[in-house]
């Protein structure tokens, strides 16, 4: 955090978790009371609303727009904040859209939050997966007040392709980390010492593997984005980060292919799964009907084949 984001944390402001998921889950549990509101920009990562329900909190979704690059606008955030708002969950870069906030955009969100009584859970698990000249900014680094309010969640799963090791971490003010520690000590104990040893080497070791991975991802993103936007009826925001594309496929709704009627993103996903053997996740799972999530964390070969199949099938829809 110091090396990459100029953030200073003490050991008692950091907890290692069983995946970033446990970091977010326990952060919600540590802050949200029954009936408290948690603002979640939509499209959102599938687990957030369930985590909030498990804390008996209330998810308040803010629908972001494709034309805004699926980013939360400060004036819309301001309207959504009520006296019951306890937490804002920001997934930056975002799963499922890949959208990533610039420093300026985060500053304008911080301006709104400044005088409000809320925590920010900043899920930065895709931090390293940003492309080109885009510079990632951690929400905790905006200013010292925001650092006091931010529960920063990260992990080794995405950056180092170490999903199966289940190591995440949280950096936050001491009292929050203390609470997270208590909760974790009763729910799972520590993350495995073996996995922690592996994570140390990944974080401290040579980092060139990341830039190699990024170049490869960038190529795949360019390729697949070009391919799908060349299909009539599909529009797609080209995101700054993560490894997802989140195209708008709503122009196909109401149309049919043989016996298949496409009335929503679920139908669309089922159709391409059955007819073209392409697995994608319907936008409705992320609270964004009309869209579909493609992951390009797969080989270029697979992407090429997928593009061919997709075109072949979609042209038949009328």
């Amino acid at each position: 955090m110091k090396r990459d984001n100029h953030l200073d944390y003490h050991l008692n402001q950091i907890i290692v978790t069983n995946g970033a998921k446990q970091g977010v889950f326990n952060s919600v549990l540590a802050t949200v009371n029954e009936g408290d509101e948690v603002i979640i920009p939509s499209p959102y990562w599938v687990s957030y609303p369930d985590m909030v329900s498990m804390a008996n909190g209330k998810s308040v979704f803010i629908q972001t727009k494709e034309k805004d690059g699926f980013k939360l606008k400060p004036q819309i955030l301001e309207k959504a904040i009520t006296p019951k708002t306890k937490v804002l969950i920001l997934c930056n870069p975002s799963n499922p859209t890949g959208s990533t906030y610039t420093k300026k955009e985060l500053e304008s969100l911080a301006e709104v939050i400044k005088n409000k009584n809320l925590f920010i859970i900043s899920d930065e698990i895709y931090e390293k997966l940003v492309y080109g000249d885009f510079k990632f900014t951690s929400f905790a680094s905006i200013n010292s007040e925001m650092k006091q309010r931010t529960i920063l969640v990260n992990g080794v799963s995405k950056t180092y392709a170490m999903t199966g090791w289940r190591i995440g971490y949280v950096a936050a003010p001491e009292n929050i980390v203390d609470a997270l520690n208590k909760i974790q000590s009763h729910s799972t104990s520590n993350a495995s010492s073996i996995s922690q040893a592996a994570a140390i080497e990944a974080l401290a070791g040579p980092q060139y593997v990341i830039s190699e991975m990024l170049q490869e991802f960038k190529l795949r993103q360019e390729f697949f984005h070009n391919e799908i936007t060349s299909i009539k009826g599909i529009t797609c925001y080209k995101p700054e980060g993560a490894f997802f594309l989140f195209p708008n496929v709503s122009s196909y709704f109401g149309k049919t292919l043989g016996n298949h009627k496409i009335s929503d993103s679920f139908d669309f996903a089922m159709l391409i799964l059955q007819k073209a053997h392409i697995a994608a996740v319907p936008g409705s799972a992320f609270g964004a009907e009309g869209f579909i999530r493609f992951s390009y964390a797969t080989s270029m070969e697979n992407l090429k084949e997928a593009a061919i199949r997709l075109k072949r099938i979609l042209v038949k829809i009328s």
């Binding site: 069983n18 995946g19 998921k21 446990q22 889950f25 549990l29 540590a30 802050t31 949200v32 009371n33 029954e34 408290d36 687990s47 369930d50 985590m51 498990m54 804390a55 008996n56 306890k86 009584n117 809320l118 925590f119 309010r149 170490m162 999903t163 199966g164 090791w165 289940r166 009292n175 929050i176 203390d178 609470a179 520690n181 208590k182 909760i183 000590s185 009763h186 729910s187 799972t188 104990s189 520590n190 993350a191 495995s192 010492s193 073996i194 996995s195």
Partner: protein, 405 residues
């Protein structure tokens, strides 16, 4: 901005906190003896080590199903058949991040806020806080006859309309008491009659002494398969000395396991595939390590109990299993937190205050370490507490002087 009520209501696991304290003192070079530990010192099975290394060497340590990899489920199915004579299906099994997570997600799956979960005291430190984590009410039941062996009446007296579940941990942490077969039969029957969930925390079931045999709770169950409300908990931590691998499991009806899997899926995504592979190898591999650990622990227990029996003022119940005993030190000090602090400060022996397990005036002493630790540890405690002790004690070349009375 304040923390949630739940975060405020729970306290950190005292045993894990003690481990931290031990590590700090040890690093300072202090000659501290850990009689508060909760893990065997034996080697883990070679099969498990090899399986871990083999999987690491594939370079592919990826996401796995949230409820456990099929191979581990199969190993658990076989284990359940061997020890519980019950053939279950994969959908009746979930692998978790330690038996702790298995219990946690089980409670999350079955309890609503304000509902009660009942368990005998002394109890494992995490049960009350786990209940509080979900807004439920923990009800600890201390046996009325003053022993560590509850009777059915102790339970039935406290069951009310809010009671939803009972947790039985036998052999018990912290007392080492293994409840009688008759008691287990009674509880199983009672819970079925009252339609209560019964969580059987069997994590120590093979670590038992004096020729005792593990008890199979299903033997007394009349409800089977999808009607069964028994949730059986176990894991590899204790019996295979694999605490750091964090692999436990639960067996239960399909519906509850499905709910637990969903919760676990959002909570942690399930345990690491690498660690699951190690658990498969431990469960399916050579079992001689379990028996040798059991024999070592039985021998250690004998040494510790003999020493405590000759410790004037201390009363102790001989444990039937685990690697703990809960000894009564109230003749010296009624406040177990104070006593534990005193022992670590004066003679560098780490013990766990009985208060954390719901019984003040007692200390939990572990005999999972070496015989030397047990002997030196008890000797130092005796020196510190017995007013007739010599004025000086040597630890290595350090001289301690008794400047208290």
């Amino acid at each position: 901005m304040s923390l949630s009520l739940i975060a405020k209501s729970i306290k950190a696991s005292p045993t894990l906190k003690l481990n931290e304290k031990f590590a700090i003192l040890k690093e300072k070079g202090d000659p501290v003896i850990h009689l508060g530990g909760g893990e065997p010192k034996s080697r883990m099975p070679m099969d498990a080590i090899l399986a871990t290394v083999a999987h690491v060497n594939t370079g592919e340590v990826r996401y796995a199903p949230a409820d456990g990899i099929p191979a581990l489920k199969q190993a658990i199915i076989r284990y359940t058949e061997e020890f519980y004579e019950r053939k279950v299906k994969p959908e009746n099994v979930i692998a978790s991040g330690g038996a702790k997570q298995a219990i946690m997600v089980a409670l999350q799956a079955i309890l609503n806020p304000q509902e009660e979960v009942l368990f005998p005291a002394p109890y494992w430190v995490s049960y009350p806080d786990m209940a509080k984590l979900i807004g439920a009410i923990p009800v600890a039941v201390l046996p009325e006859d003053g022993t560590f062996y509850p009777r059915l009446k102790d339970i039935t007296d406290r069951v009310g309309s809010y009671t939803k579940a009972v947790i039985i941990n036998s052999p018990n942490n912290p007392t080492g008491a293994m409840y009688s077969e008759e008691f287990i039969a009674d509880v199983v029957e009672f819970c079925e009659k009252k339609d209560l969930w019964l969580i059987m925390d069997d994590i120590y079931h093979r670590l038992i002494f004096d020729g005792k045999k593990p008890i199979n709770c299903y033997k007394y169950a009349k409800k089977f398969d999808e009607n069964s409300k028994i949730i059986l908990i176990n894991g590899v931590s204790k019996q295979y000395a694999m605490t750091g691998f964090r692999i436990g499991w639960a067996v239960g009806n399909k519906k509850v396991i499905e709910a637990m899997s969903n919760i676990q899926g959002h909570q942690t995504s399930g345990p690491s595939v690498l660690l699951q592979k190690a658990a498969v190898a431990a469960l399916n591999g050579i079992q001689s390590g379990v028996e040798s650990l059991r024999t070592t622990l039985e021998n250690n227990r004998n040494v510790m109990i003999d020493l405590l029996n000759s410790f004037e003022g201390v009363k102790v119940t001989k444990p039937d299993g685990t690697f703990y005993c809960l000894a009564d030190f109230s003749a010296y000090e009624k406040d177990s937190n104070k006593l534990s602090e005193f022992l670590i400060d004066k003679v560098q022996v780490l013990t766990v205050p009985g208060k954390e397990f719901g019984l003040d005036g007692h200390l939990r002493l572990s005999y999972c370490g070496t015989i030397k630790d047990i002997q030196d540890g008890i000797e130092r405690m005796k020196w510190a507490l017995d007013p007739n002790s010599a004025n000086e004690l040597y630890i290595g070349d350090r001289k301690l002087v008794r400047d208290w009375s």
